[in-house]
């Protein structure tokens, strides 16, 4: 017998009131990052310590720009979710709140900076 109200069951947010959003998006970004990260590792290994012109030409290739924008967004989304879990485990009190706010701002800022830089190179 469930003691939950029909409304709480329909909402499906559980006792933490957050539902499975954090868990789900951590997995979603993880799956996206599997092919993207393997591609990046080998693509960069082929570039080596390439000159400015070579790297710029590479970043101006359409499929590279697209894949890197996807990678940047997925990376910082995944980083924010993962770092949040670590902070929640080891940092407590007001310091936890401050750290979580900083991580959120940093991850969003870095994702935007990365995407804007990639678009500036590509366009």
């Amino acid at each position: 017998m469930s003691l939950r109200t029909p409304l709480s069951e329909a909402k499906g947010l559980g006792s933490a009131k957050e539902g499975v959003a954090h868990w789900w998006f951590q997995r979603l970004t993880a799956i996206a990052l599997i092919p993207l990260a393997v591609w990046l590792a080998f693509a960069v290994s082929m570039l080596g310590d390439a000159s400015y012109e070579t790297v710029r030409a590479w970043l101006e290739t359409p499929h590279v720009a697209i894949l890197l924008i996807l990678l940047v967004v997925a990376t910082f989304y995944h980083s924010q979710l993962g770092l949040q879990v670590i902070v929640e485990d080891y940092v407590h009190g007001w310091l936890k709140v401050v750290t979580l706010i900083l991580i959120n701002f940093l991850c969003i800022a870095l994702a935007v900076i990365g995407v804007v830089a990639l678009l500036k190179i590509f366009l």
């Binding site: 993880a30 990260a37 770092l83 670590i86 990365g114 830089a117 190179i121």
Partner: protein
């Protein structure tokens, strides 16, 4: 509470480290390291977008001996986190919880990490002689 002589339960450092525990801790450490590495990746994009001299400076740092050691550690960190992440996805799906299976899958994570890290640097050496 006054009796400080009472026995404590054994602490973490008492136990022999099972492979699963070591990889689990490494998963977190590599996650943080990769987040830091992602900042450098964005810095490279910004440098290429705005300042060739800045790119040359970053290239010099990363191509130095210490830079290469860090890049190699990041490569290992990337693949360890990636393959152990795949292991986590299997656990999420409900597979591989037997004790013998977790040890085996842990060993496979290490083998795959080693193989792919060597492959990436092999390609780098073959293509660019870095």
């Amino acid at each position: 509470m006054a009796n400080v002589e009472r026995p404590l339960s054994p602490h973490l450092q008492i136990y022999k480290w099972p492979l699963a525990m070591a990889i689990s801790i490494l998963h977190r450490i590599t996650g943080v390291a990769l987040a830091i590495g992602a900042v450098i990746m964005v810095a490279i994009f910004v440098a290429v977008a705005s300042d060739p001299a800045c790119y040359e400076w970053i290239r010099g740092v990363l191509a130095s001996k210490i830079g290469k050691i860090f890049l190699f550690l990041w490569t290992i960190g990337l693949f360890l986190h990636l393959f152990n992440g795949i292991r986590h996805l299997f656990w999420d799906a409900g597979y591989g919880f037997e004790k013998s299976t977790t040890t085996k899958s842990g060993i496979w994570v290490l083998i795959a990490t080693f193989a792919l890290s060597i492959a990436v640097w092999g390609v780098a050496y073959y293509c660019t002689n870095v």
